[in-house]
C-alpha cells in the first residue's frame, strides 16, 4: 500500500499497471473473476468480429474482469490499451448515440443506464451492467472513477 501511495502521489505510474480495483476498493463493488488479457491477435477469441474495429484503431491489448455490486448487480469491465489516444477516441465516438449522457470521467466519457465508456490517454474503458437497477448508474459511475484512478 505504501508503494502504491507513493507512486500515485508522484503521478508517475508503472506502465501496464493493473487498472482493476480490488474487492472493496470501490464501495459496494467486489471483483468476482480473474483478470483475463487478450493481445490484439487473439482479441477475436473474446469479442469475435468486434475485434476488427479495435485492431484497425490500434489496440495493443484488452483486459477484462467481472464485478458485482452489493452482491447483486453484475458488471464487466473491459480496459483496452490502444497505441495512441486517437484510437481510443475513435472507438468511443463510433458508438455514441444521441441519448448518451456526457459526464466527467477521464478525458471523455459517455454514460447510459447500464453502461459507461470513457477514455484516458491511450486507455479506453467500457463498463457494462447486466441489469437495469435504480442505483445502477451511480454505482457504475463510482466504479468508473475507481478504474480511472488506477490508470
Amino acid at each position: 500500500m505504501m508503494i502504491v501511495a507513493a507512486v500515485a502521489s508522484t503521478g508517475c505510474k508503472k506502465k501496464g499497471s493493473d487498472p482493476f480495483p480490488a474487492s472493496g476498493a470501490v464501495a459496494g463493488w467486489e471483483k468476482t473473476a480473474e483478470t483475463r488479457t487478450f493481445a490484439a491477435k487473439n482479441l477475436s477469441d473474446y469479442i469475435d468480429g468486434d475485434a476488427e474495429q479495435y485492431i484497425s484503431a490500434g489496440v495493443i491489448s484488452t483486459s477484462t474482469s467481472d464485478y458485482k455490486y452489493q452482491g447483486q448487480l453484475e458488471a464487466t469491465v473491459d480496459v483496452h490499451t490502444m497505441s495512441d489516444p486517437a484510437g481510443a477516441r475513435k472507438i468511443l465516438e463510433t458508438g455514441v448515440t444521441s441519448d448518451a449522457k456526457r459526464i466527467a470521467v477521464g478525458d471523455e466519457c459517455v454514460q447510459y443506464a447500464q453502461s459507461i465508456t470513457f477514455r484516458k490517454g491511450t486507455r479506453l474503458v467500457r463498463i457494462v451492467a447486466y441489469e437495469s437497477t435504480a442505483d445502477g448508474p451511480q454505482a457504475l459511475l463510482a466504479l468508473a472513477h475507481g478504474v480511472e484512478a488506477k490508470l
Binding site: D45, D48, G49, A51, T97, Y112, V128, A129, S132
Partner: protein
C-alpha cells in the same frame, strides 16, 4: 384443435387457409409445401415471455419451444414432435446429440440457459440419455457466461468447449475456408442442434444460424474478411457441418439491433421469439428482416446503408453453395 387454430397464423408467402384444418390436415399441408420446394421457418412469439424481469420465465420458454416445434412438425404432442426432429436410429443406437450454443456476447446476450435446458429435457423425453447430450461452444468462458458449469461426467448432461475437446489435425477446406474442426463435431456428435442468438454484427451485418458455426473451427478470425463473405457460406459447406448441423432452434428472445455481436444494453431489444427450421439460409434471411424492422423502428439506417449488409446470405443460396433459399417467395414463414 381450437388452440392450434388460435395460435397459428401463416405469414408472408405461405398464404394458406388453415382455419378449418385438422391436426393431420395441417401436417399434410406442411408436407405439400416441403414438396413444393418451399423452406419452412417458424417464428413463435410470447409477448409476456420476460414479464418484468431481465430473464425470460422458464415455464413460458418451455411452452414457447413446444409451440414452435409443434408448428414446425405438425405434431402437437412434444414427444411426437421431437421424434420428427431427431432420427429414431440416433436415439436407439445411443448416439450423441450436441447443442451448439452462443455465449460470445457474455451474460447479457447469449443463448438463454432456460431454452437450452428445455431442449435437453425434450431430448430426454424421447429417450436420449443425459450423457448423450453435449452442450458446447467455443470456450469455457462462453459456456459459463450462459450459466452452465463445465461437466464431462457421462452420467449427466455434458457441457464442455471446443477448446477443451481440441481439433482434428487435418485441415478441411471449402472455397476460402481453410480450417480445422473441433472433435466435438467430428467425433463426438452424430447430430447437432444449432442454437444461436439473434444479433447485429459489426462486420457480417447479422449473426444467427450460419455465423454460429464460427465457434466450430480453430481460427474463426480468418473468416471475417469482406463482411464474412464468402467465409460464412464457405464454412457451412464443409461436409461435416452441412451434414450434422441440420436443425436450428434460434434464440430471438433477446437481441441487439446495433453494436453487436457484443452486449450493448442501450441497443438491447426483446423480440420474445424463437425461430426454428432446417434451412439455415432461410432462417438467416428472416433474421435479417427482423433486425432491419427493428432498426427502422428506432430510426437507424438499414444495414446496407450502414455499409454491412449480410451478403453472405445470398452467397450461401447461390448455385455453388446451395445451402438453402433466401428468396422470400420460396420461404414458408409461419408465425405462431
Amino acid at each position: 384443435m381450437e388452440s392450434r387454430r388460435d395460435f397459428l397464423k401463416v405469414a408472408a408467402t405461405g398464404a394458406l387457409a388453415l382455419g378449418a384444418q385438422s391436426k393431420l390436415g395441417f401436417a399434410r399441408i406442411l408436407d405439400q409445401h416441403a414438396a413444393a420446394g418451399k423452406s419452412r421457418v417458424v417464428i413463435a412469439r410470447d409477448a409476456a415471455l420476460h414479464g418484468t424481469g431481465a430473464q425470460p420465465d422458464e415455464k413460458r420458454v418451455s411452452a414457447l419451444l413446444d409451440r414452435a416445434i409443434a408448428a414446425y412438425t405438425g405434431r402437437e404432442h412434444p414427444a411426437e414432435a421431437w421424434k420428427r426432429i431427431v432420427p429414431a436410429n440416433l436415439v436407439s443406437e445411443g448416439k450423441v446429440i450436441g447443442l451448439k450454443i452462443n455465449g460470445l456476447g457474455g451474460k447479457g446476450i447469449c443463448t438463454h440457459q432456460a431454452l437450452v435446458m428445455a431442449v435437453a429435457e425434450r431430448l430426454q423425453q424421447i429417450g436420449v440419455k443425459p450423457g448423450n447430450i453435449v452442450i458446447w461452444d467455443q470456450n469455457d468462458h462462453f459456456l459459463e457466461a450462459c450459466g452452465f458449469t463445465i461437466n464431462t461426467n457421462p452420467s449427466h448432461i455434458r457441457c464442455y468447449s471446443r477448446d477443451q475437446a481440441g481439433f482434428e489435425d487435418q485441415q478441411e477446406s471449402w472455397g476460402t475456408a481453410r480450417i480445422r474442426i473441433t472433435k466435438i463435431l467430428t467425433r463426438e456428435c452424430a447430430m447437432v442442434i444449432n442454437m444461436p442468438i439473434l444479433k447485429d454484427h459489426s462486420m457480417a451485418g447479422v449473426t444467427f444460424a450460419m455465423k454460429n458455426m464460427y465457434g466450430v473451427v480453430d481460427r474463426p478470425q480468418d473468416l471475417h474478411a469482406s463482411g464474412c463473405n464468402p467465409g460464412v457460406a464457405d464454412l457451412n459447406c464443409i461436409p461435416v457441418i452441412r451434414e450434422k448441423v441440420h436443425f436450428t432452434i434460434g434464440d430471438a428472445m433477446t437481441s441487439v439491433y446495433d453494436g453487436g455481436p457484443g452486449f450493448h444494453p442501450e441497443r438491447l431489444w426483446q423480440p420474445n421469439a424463437l425461430m426454428v427450421g432446417e434451412d439455415r439460409v432461410a432462417l438467416d434471411q428472416i433474421a435479417w428482416q427482423m433486425i432491419e424492422r427493428k432498426r427502422a423502428e428506432v430510426g437507424m439506417p438499414t444495414l446496407t446503408a450502414a455499409g454491412r449488409p449480410p451478403r453472405y446470405i445470398a452467397t450461401a443460396a447461390d448455385q455453388a453453395h446451395n445451402l438453402g433459399v433466401n428468396d422470400p417467395q420460396r420461404i414458408h414463414l409461419m408465425e405462431v
